[in-house]
Amino acid sequence: MHSADITIDNITKIEGTAGLKVTIENDQVKDLKFIIKDYRRFYIEAVKGKPIMAAPSFLSRICGTCSVAHLFASIEAIEKSQGIEVTEQTKLLRRLAYDGLMIRDHALHLYFFVLPDVLGIDSILDIPDDTDNFGHVLLHDSFDIKKLGSDITDVIIGAAIHAPIPTIGGFLKNPDPSKFPELIARLENIRPQVIRGIKTFFDYPSELIRNSDYLALRNNQRYDFIEGEIVNTSGKRVPEAEFHNFLKSVVIPYSQAEGYVFSDSHEDYLVGSLARLNLNLDQLHPRTKAGAVDFLSVFPSNNVYHNNVAQAIEILQCVEDAIDILKTIQISDEKLVRKSLQSGIGVGVVEAPRGVLYHKAKVNGQGVITDYDVIVPTAQNQINIENDLKKYFEENLGKDKKQLQLEAEKIIRAYDPCMSCATNFLKIDWISS
């Protein structure tokens, strides 16, 4: 291919709207733009002036699929601004709800968005209605897995999307333990289906390797999505409160979302399941290590398609973690932890399904939000995605245009990007030029 313009107006089978424009001249990639197209809703401005009790529920509306991540990050930020320390029971129930989120969200991405690439079809809607067909088996696995994740969140926090029960200081209502045995039995029974999924995405022969840096939360006690320090591949450790100093935001004039690089090296980096597994492999649950033993040898990995495998392994990790919590937790009738309102600043950092998510709340003495910041995973991955695509196109210019388009979409899909999230910004280093 000597010269060509390749445009994908709407990348499909992702969350939200994004496009790609590539200009090839004289057998070289002259220009490549990954364009996030979702219109901003300016929630970070809109949350100012709201009472702290209303903020987390409002901000969960940033995203439909990972609303629980935004809810928990916002609650944590506000609790820290108020000096509220929640109980061990609350911490465990949040962890359990988060397991439900990860199981459902990862399964949605893997089976509804990526599986058609694995099967060489356009859509799950094209899978034959034949119980012997492997695609049919996997699709029905996904229904069972997703429903189990949703049911865990329903029981613990009242809903999978915009959950009404978690609040500042704990839970508005404690879960009903009589529902736990059925969840435990279903979690125990789902393992073979989850492992079939891991094998499927492991066997998917796609590769794009670039030496990315990785960034994730790490807790030395366990594989954790909620508590820990932020670490990267080169060994830097950053407390949650210092996270935004670790990054530099970059305005991307053609995209509705800004990107991020490390503030010191100005290098791009990747967040998400691949980063988490690369940096926390040793912390996986013993039963996850045993169940996924045939698929762990590729980690740490620089192949971006292994983000799919990492998500599938994390589903198993969350299944095992949820079983442990459900079997051991004793629910007591706890009340919310409350303190007198105070002015303060708090930071909440969690691992959303797509990577590190940062919320920062500034609160006045009347308990009103005066300033707010959010850094979301897909915005952090934006520059990395673009650089991966440049490498792919530079190395594959001999392929025909249709093939290049198809492969580019697969690469973007492997990141599991979320455009609804991406169009919310952090207000640092703003340079309008």
């Binding site: 709407n10 499909t12 089978k13 992702i14 969350e15 939200g16 709207t17 979702d38 219109y39 901003r40 809703r41 300016f42 929630y43 401005e45 809109a46 100012k48 409002f58 509306r61 940033i62 995203c63 439909g64 699929t65 609303s67 459902r104 949605l108 509804f112 968005f113 356009d122 859509s123 799950i124 809607l125 209605d129 699709l139 229904f143 069972d144 997703k146 429903k147 949703s150 999978a160 999307i161 915009h162 004039p253 509705q256 979409e409 609804s420 910004f425 207000k427 703003w430 309008s432």
Partner: protein, 165 residues
């Protein structure tokens, strides 16, 4: 006498599912409803346009368009008008399509909220002055309110159109 056996394929309801400015929570809820309804709906419904699930999408012969999200720009308005022109019925899905909120929060912004960064995005891309709910742009036949949509009401509306077609 030769007998010809003809198999009659029942007509399916042609559906389009579209998302504009929102969190796409109703899309996610729909993917959850598929956990238990996929096998049933596959025989009754043909998803002609569903960007979250397929690449080969078409606006042709759509009976019912389900539209989620508020309208942030003239280009989005043109897009929903095109959908309206190509479909028999339009259903507004979720709070942002039905009421504008919370996606239309910026309609209430004053100069304090519109700082340099917000102003740059508003002027740099084709944002319209106001974010609009769907029925401010096109005729809407039914609404499924909620954030995310009320799933029982969605199933009721879908059932109504399945009967009609």
């Amino acid at each position: 006498m030769n007998q010809t056996v003809t198999t009659i394929t029942p007509k399916k309801l042609n559906i389009g599912w579209f998302s504009f400015t929102c969190s796409e929570d109703s899309t996610i809820l729909l993917t959850e409803l598929l956990n238990t309804h996929f096998d049933e709906w596959k025989n009754l419904v043909d998803f002609k346009h569903f960007k979250a699930l397929k690449t080969n999408n078409s606006l042709e012969n759509i009976d019912v368009a389900f539209i989620e999200g508020a309208i942030s720009s003239d280009s989005q308005a043109d897009e929903v008008k095109k959908i309206r022109d190509n479909t028999k019925y339009v259903v507004a899905i979720g709070a942002c399509a039905c009421t504008g909120m919370p996606s239309s929060s910026r309609n209430n912004f004053g100069s304090k909220e519109i700082d340099e960064q917000v102003a740059w995005y508003l002027s740099h891309f084709d944002y319209s002055n106001k974010v609009r709910r769907l029925d401010e742009v096109i005729k809407v036949d039914e609404k499924v309110e909620g954030c995310p949509m009320n799933k029982d009401r969605f199933i009721e509306v879908l059932g109504k159109y399945l009967k009609e077609f």
